[in-house]
């Protein structure tokens, strides 16, 4: 199966190690990471809870297992949500 490019947008808690945890999922499922963009943190209101950060990741790998990878990313406790925002004209 030829790898295809995908863009994922993840909403994650701003905690140490969360990128590491995500990278681990890509590594295990044989995905190549092309770029990672960490967007500005949305500060949590009050208390000392960490804020939320959006991470945009461009990866290439099997389209068939991408859905699986998304769910495995969402299984990470610090990851709140993962969207597949790939559109057709992304190559």
């Amino acid at each position: 199966m030829t790898p295809t490019k995908h863009i994922l947008l993840a909403l994650v808690e701003d905690k140490p190690g969360v990128l590491n945890r995500m990278a681990n999922v890509f590594r295990r499922r044989g995905f190549n990471i092309h770029s990672v963009n960490v967007l500005e943190t949305i500060e949590a209101e009050g208390g000392d809870r960490p804020g939320l950060t959006r991470v945009a990741i461009v990866v290439s790998g099997s389209a068939v297992i991408l859905g699986q990878v998304r769910k495995q990313l969402e299984r990470i406790v610090d990851v709140v949500k993962v969207l597949d925002i790939t559109t057709k004209d992304v190559t």
Binding site: V77, D78, V79
Partner: protein, 573 residues
């Protein structure tokens, strides 16, 4: 009031109802151990190797349904836990591991006994924490317990630097957790449940495969109701064994590589397969593309990432098995499925899992005798290998959580420490550790722990002089080249005696029952070394990556008697 980090940890453990900790001290955790005497409610059990602590916590958790807790020091203490943590991860067992870490100032500088244990255990924990601020400790512990036993359970590791144990903070144990990324779905989607009910009601040849998820969610009654109402045969995975009484007329035993022929035939022929809290491990499915070729698959599991991972799910339902079944059962129409059930019973008659008459000492016979004498009331804990499969096949498990076995990781050495943990958790239940001569030697040192804690674990060593399961593969698939599988053993009876454990050696069939009875009559731990037929194989067997059509059954030929000359002796090497 201000407490030290060590006190905060202990207070929190008490609040979470922890009674037992399996651990081993060292430099980084001395402040923690120094605090333990202030908390006599917390019973600390000293193991002989940290792997034993993790397995004991695992066995304790499986036997009791509570969270198992273990402690280790930094560096080698923490790395020794790794196998046990991975084992708990693959079998979804709630284990909390607390490790000491070097002083915060030294982290990342290769300090003495520093290892990046959160990095190491990242892929084998449900979640882990490095506590860099004592003010976060109580919240982290609260989260840890919540994560360990809710949703799909799993091990959590908390790494605490030495100075954090000593630093003080105000102690407020939080009432609830705030984890925006962790919200397990419990109730199944009503539309999916409706679809599943329709498929089941219309099915001609349905089958249930029940896995550990049934035990985790305690869905025993719901499973029984579904099976009985709709007359659906029930098979289980290795970790599901006992979640449905094996003496029930609708029980068809274990599936998979060494599962029952009739259970595997039933899956092969089924038109609707209801998978409950199981994850289609390759030991269950064999060749994936040929698995349940005619079945509509209803997959009910709490972990969304399991859906469609190994096998396509036609009707996936994410949720707690018990809650989903409660909703599903309301829509199930009672039926008679005589033809289908009779078909399975015919297969069962044609391919029984019986023990052949043999003058030699057959391992299957030993297991069956333990079953008879314990009247099926014992908790059976195993190592990994042939003996594990014989234990699963020949003991009849009628109660949930009475077979405790390393499924996903297949960890040799799990047996003895896990049996010990189960015994600590269930002091009034008989616990038998059915172990292999190879597996037993991996964690044999925990005999001392058993004696120190006076845990009356009964140990049956299925001594075949081989790493038998590997030998079996060599015999069947590698032209019987037995490379590195003959294994010599110490005199286990003498070893046991060295640990002050009474022991017997059994070589003949007629000695089996009296020996087991003697072990049962003895109040403390007891060991029996069963010198079984060395080259006995586990059947039935579906070769790895093969299909049901390729099931190998026991050749009906007389088998060689035990030959002592075949055994590798320490004295002649």
């Amino acid at each position: 009031m201000k407490l030290t980090g060590a006190q905060i940890l202990c207070e929190s453990l008490v609040k979470e109802g922890v009674e037992v900790i399996f651990g081993f001290p060292g430099g980084a955790v001395i402040p923690l151990y120094d605090t333990l005497p202030q908390y006599p409610q917390l019973r600390h059990i000293l193991v002989r190797h940290e792997q034993g602590a993790a397995h004991a916590a695992d066995g304790y958790a499986r036997a009791t349904g509570k969270v198992g807790v273990c402690f280790a020091t930094s560096g080698p203490g923490a790395t020794n836990l790794v196998t046990g943590i991975a084992n708990a991860f693959l079998d979804s067992v709630p284990v909390i591991a607390v490790t000491g870490q070097v002083h915060r100032d030294f982290i990342g500088r290769d300090a003495f006994q520093e290892t990046d244990i959160t990095g190491i255990t990242l892929p084998i924990t449900k979640h882990n924490y490095l506590v860099m601020d004592v003010n976060h400790l109580a919240t982290i512990i609260k989260e840890t317990f919540h994560l360990a036993h809710t949703g799909r359970p799993g091990p959590i590791l908390i790494d605490i630097p030495r100075d954090v144990f000593l630093e003080q903070a105000e102690f407020n144990y939080p009432e609830k957790t705030d984890l925006p990324g962790y919200k397990p779905t419990l109730q199944g989607h009503p539309a999916q449940i409706k679809k599943a009910a329709k498929a089941i009601n219309e099915a001609k040849r349905p089958i249930i495969i029940a896995g550990r998820g049934v035990n985790v969610s305690k869905a025993y009654n719901e499973l029984k109701l579904l099976a009985e109402t709709a007359q659906i045969p029930v098979a289980t995975t290795l970790l599901g064994v006992g979640c449905f009484p094996e003496s029930h007329a609708l029980s068809y035993g274990m599936v998979g590589m060494h599962g029952m022929v009739y259970a595997n035939y039933a899956i092969e022929s089924s038109d609707v397969l209801i998978a409950l809290g199981m994850r289609f491990d390759d030991r269950v499915t064999g060749k994936i593309s040929a698995f349940a070729p005619h079945a509509h698959i209803v997959h009910i599991d709490i972990d969304p990432a399991e859906i469609g991972k190994n096998v396509r799910a036609d009707i996936p339902i994410v949720g707690d098995v018990k809650m989903v079944l409660q909703a599903l059962n309301k829509q199930i129409v009672p039926v008679d499925r005589l033809e289908w059930v009779n078909q399975l019973d015919d297969w069962r008659r044609e391919h029984p899992i019986d023990i052949r008459d043999d003058d030699g000492l057959l391992p299957q016979y030993v297991v069956r005798q333990i079953y008879e004498i314990t009247r099926g009331e014992a908790i059976i804990v195993t190592g990994v290998g042939q003996h594990q499969m014989w234990a699963a096949q020949h003991y009849l498990f009628n109660k949930p959580n009475t077979l405790i076995s390393s499924g996903g990781l297949g960890t040799m050495g799990f047996g003895l420490p896990a049996a010990f943990g189960a015994q600590i958790g269930c002091p009034d239940t008989t616990v038998w550790c059915i172990d292999g001569d190879g597996s037993f030697q991996m964690t044999i040192q925990e005999l001392a722990t058993i004696v120190q804690e006076q845990a009356p674990v009964k140990i049956a060593i299925i001594n075949n002089g081989y790493l038998g399961m590997v030998r079996q593969w060599q015999q069947l698939f590698y032209k019987a080249r037995y490379v590195a599988t003959p294994i010599s053993c110490p005199d286990f009876v003498k070893i046991a005696e060295g640990y002050y454990i009474p022991a017997l050696r059994v070589k003949h069939r007629e000695e089996v029952a009296p020996a087991i009875e003697q072990a049962m009559a003895h109040h403390g731990p007891f060991l029996i070394d069963f010198m079984v037929a060395p080259e006995e194989n586990v059947y039935p067997m579906i070769p790895p990556g093969a299909t049901v059509a390729e099931i190998m059954e026991e050749p009906r030929q007389p088998v060689k008697a035990i030959s002592d000359s075949k055994r590798l002796k320490v004295s002649n090497i």
